[in-house]
């Protein structure tokens, strides 16, 4: 098959690059290295985004195609497809990488249908065989791992957040601006409504503190919020389905088969038994810590570290100890 470049979709929101943009470029570079080809990036945003885009050069992007328009302050699926098509008209690509974020998961299948190419989603590993991308993706909620390849190029791939850690390398990218019209568009994105305070999303945080039914009631979440606070700005809250179904926590925090799939560096399961559907959402975390009063809780079978005990004693002590050691160092 003809050897092509790799193209990465660099997601922006409200005129700023999102962290997953750097991850998509890093993943693209990993694949490009396996293919022996360069990696390019593309993005849309309001005027001024081109300046931010240049920073992608440090993550491996050779050329960065940017479409600026006031309308692109919000996600613009139709315009994104037009930009993608325009770039594919200029160069030959072997693969297009999207982040498996809310935007990427919406855009990648549209692109696949437009281009009539196969799409592998939520990919956790990338390589190449005979010049064709090979992607690794969990299926059956992580109960099996599939290795897939593609019959036609470019291969479309979305990469799971937090798996391909953004990594700098020496080098600079060349920013090229491309004209793309915001219209026509069959749907209009009006903007994003956030809660009282904008929190880091559980799928993108590198540290997750999840609470389950063992928390006893929504009024007790201050205990977990305090631990999140002690852990710092990269930490956020998660939840089991039991507490979401009970209405104690919003659905956006649910981790598991019918919630979000997370791959943080550190995952705390607090008062969570470890049902198979919960494990489906967090088993790829790098380190899992369980705090549960039941020594036979299944969560201990997959946890790397654990404490058997009453969470209402253990968690406040943990927050205090973390603050103590941070103050010391």
């Amino acid at each position: 098959m003809p050897q092509g470049r790799v193209l990465a979709f660099a997601e922006s929101r409200d005129g700023a690059l999102r962290p997953v943009a750097r991850e998509a470029v890093t993943a693209g570079r990993e694949l490009a290295e396996a293919l022996g080809s360069p990696v390019d990036a593309f993005l849309l945003g309001p005027p001024g985004i081109a300046r931010e885009a240049a920073a992608l050069g440090a993550y491996g992007a050779d050329r960065i195609f940017v479409a600026e328009n006031d309308a692109f302050v919000n996600y613009a699926p139709d315009a994104s497809l037009r930009l993608c098509a325009e770039i594919l008209g200029r160069e030959t690509y072997s693969a297009i990488i999207f982040p498996a974020s809310a935007q990427g998961k919406d855009l990648a299948p549209r692109a696949a249908a437009m281009l009539d190419r196969g799409l592998a989603t939520e990919v956790t590993g990338l390589g190449a065989e005979d010049g064709v991308p090979v992607a690794v993706r969990p299926v059956y909620a992580g109960k099996a791992i599939a290795r897939v390849t593609f019959t036609d190029l470019p291969a479309l791939i979305s990469v799971r957040p937090n798996v391909f850690r953004a990594e700098k390398r020496p080098g600079e990218g060349l920013v090229e601006s491309v004209e793309v019209a915001p219209e026509p568009s069959s749907q209009r994105v009006k903007g994003i409504e956030t809660g009282e305070r904008e929190t880091l999303d559980v799928s993108e945080a590198t540290v997750v503190v999840s609470g389950g039914r063992g928390m006893k009631g929504p009024e007790n979440w201050a205990v977990l919020e305090d631990l999140v606070d002690a852990l710092g700005e990269h930490a956020t809250l998660g939840a089991s389905r039991a507490v979401v179904d009970a209405g104690w926590r919003p659905h956006g925090e649910q981790v598991g088969q019918t919630g979000k799939v997370v791959s943080p560096t550190l995952y705390f399961a607090i008062g969570i038994s470890g049902a198979i559907q919960h494990l489906a959402g967090m088993r790829t975390a790098k380190t899992i810590v369980a705090i549960n009063k039941d020594p036979d809780a299944p969560i201990f079978q997959i946890a790397d570290l654990g404490i058997v005990g009453d969470l209402f004693e253990v968690v406040p002590a943990l927050a205090a100890e973390i603050r103590r050691v941070h103050a010391e160092s």
């Binding site: 974020s101 919406d106 249908a113 592998a120 994003i192 550190l266 201990f300 404490i307 002590a317």
Partner: protein, 248 residues
């Protein structure tokens, strides 16, 4: 309000998954199958829209083996008016499934085409937006709130840290996230009524897959780790171990 709901037959979420002898698929023996849970949410939404409008129809469509008739009957028992099984063999990928669905849906009258946000087996989360693109319809995926008035739709979709508000006109494609509604159970009367409702079976030839499965493996086992101790006294040791791993 005329809705079409696409539903998939999937292994129950509790099912133990065993890799088949070919190393590329799962062994279906002894696995209990159900309607994909998100598709129940999509179907519920279609039923409520019809009930609220006081007129219209709900058609359910599934691509799959003969055994998928079972979930179509469940859908009829929940209240759908008619069901279509696009019966196929072979190894389809998401795009092949989307093409088969688009071909069927394209020839039908419809205001709204509903999907679950994701099938809990293959977890691709791709068929809905593909169908929308193939039919040139506006689309909102992972929807948690849907308001429809005079053919205009305001949808709220789940995104990181909030809800994205998206607007478009019917006809359109929507994929349902949990929380959009609470799906009903089929009633005994519904189950009886379902027996008389039409379930059409069409043989379809699926296009070849562009995503080829090379192998399927069990995930690397996670070794169970250490319980560092009991109660609050164990906390300093836990923190020491976390620092040892450069995690704090």
């Amino acid at each position: 309000m005329k809705s079409i709901v696409c539903i998939k037959r999937v292994p129950d979420s509790e099912a133990r998954i065993r890799i088949a002898g070919d190393g590329r698929s799962i062994d279906p023996s002894g696995v209990k199958h159900v309607m994909n849970p998100y598709d129940e949410v999509a179907l519920e939404e279609a039923l409520r829209l019809k009930e609220a409008a006081g007129e219209g129809s709900v058609t359910v469509v599934s691509v799959g083996p003969e055994a998928s008739k079972e979930i179509l009957r469940t859908a009829l028992a929940m209240g759908a008016d008619e069901a279509v099984l696009l019966q196929c063999a072979g190894s389809p990928d998401g795009l092949a499934i989307a093409r088969a669905l688009a071909a069927e849906i394209g020839g039908r009258e419809r205001d709204l085409v509903l999907f679950g946000k994701q099938a809990i087996d293959d977890d691709n989360m791709q068929v809905p937006a593909m169908v929308a693109e193939l039919l040139h319809l506006p689309c909102a995926t992972v929807v948690v709130e849907l308001e429809i008035a005079d053919g205009h739709v305001v949808a709220r979709r789940e995104v990181e840290g909030g809800h994205e508000v998206i607007e478009f006109d019917l006809p359109a494609v929507v994929s349902a996230q949990k929380g959009l509604n609470e799906p009903r159970y089929p009633s005994l009367r519904g189950i009886m009524a379902a027996k008389k409702k039409p379930l059409e079976v069409k043989e379809v030839e699926l296009r070849e897959s562009k995503v080829e499965i090379l192998s399927l493996e069990e995930p690397p086992a996670r070794e169970s780790g250490d319980v560092v101790g009991e109660g609050a006294e164990a906390v300093p040791e836990l923190v020491r171990r976390l620092r040892e791993r450069a995690l704090l």
